[in-house]
């Protein structure tokens, strides 16, 4: 499927537009329902603390879903993502204070590959901590 970005116009090191994604307890409840992941560490503070967490934490898969938006918003066509992987390095801690947390995501073109594909490396942080490691997407460009 063609994307809206032309391979010839992309250079290694180019930054993608950075984005910030707020996450509150309500976000996590909505994501739990949509994804089917009802693990109580994502909505029940007492339970989260009982298993040694500082507070309720966000779903790793929610963070993964937000991070790729830096790529799909840049591409236009999300169907151009060929491969996407992340490592969950630190949890996103989401306090019940009405404000919650913010996931900040930056991305840059790390390599130009064969077949008009590029690899984008993403960096996701929350509260100053790196929450995703080895986060990479391979995308098909025009």
């Amino acid at each position: 499927m063609p994307a809206q970005v032309n391979y010839d116009e992309v250079e290694v090191g180019s930054q993608l537009p950075a984005q910030s994604f707020p996450v509150t307890r309500a976000t996590l409840v909505q994501y739990a329902g949509a994804s089917g992941d009802f693990n109580p560490i994502h909505w029940n503070e007492a339970f989260a603390r009982s298993v040694g967490l500082p507070d309720v934490i966000g779903h790793g898969m929610f963070t993964m879903a937000e991070a790729i938006r830096v790529v799909t918003d840049w591409l236009g066509d999300p169907g151009a993502v060929v491969e996407y992987g992340v490592r969950f390095t630190k949890p996103v801690v989401v306090p019940n204070d009405g404000t919650g947390a913010v996931i900040e995501v930056t991305g840059k073109v790390a390599a130009k590959l064969e077949d008009r594909r590029v690899r984008v490396d993403l960096l996701a942080t929350s509260g100053g901590e790196k929450v995703l490691g080895m986060s990479r997407a391979v995308v098909q460009l025009l």
């Binding site: 089917g36 993964m64 879903a65 790729i68 799909t72 992987g85 969950f88």
Partner: protein, 150 residues
Amino acid sequence: MPLDPSFIGRTYPPTTVYEVGREKIREFAEAVGDANPAYLDTDAAKALGHPDVIAPPTFPFVLTYRAAAQVVNDSDLGLDFSRVVHGDQRFTYTRPVRAGDRLSVTCTIDSIKSLAGNDILSVRGDVHEESGEHVVTAYMMLVARAAEGE
């Protein structure tokens, strides 16, 4: 007790068919706050060359996570899920999941390792359309932290 490495390579039966609905894709896209028209508007998806709305890249996890319950709850394997954290996740796509797909997931244990008392379990979920077409493969790495006093 570390997990039994003889489970490496074990493949579980394919799951019953999951039919991907437009409104399920919409619900998922709204839950991640993503208003990309390719997820929400059939005409916009068609303009990009897709036969119908497509699902966000991490949507397949809805199916593969559910399918992995076969592995996680396999009493012969004996994984203690209360100690499990999601270590990493990767998808390789043949094409995006789209509305109308009738998908089945086949789970395979790719590897079992023990590291500093932690069990590291890698499970692959191959997602096929009913026609036999490969759609996406999800690779999930789970870490079962060492039990207290072990």
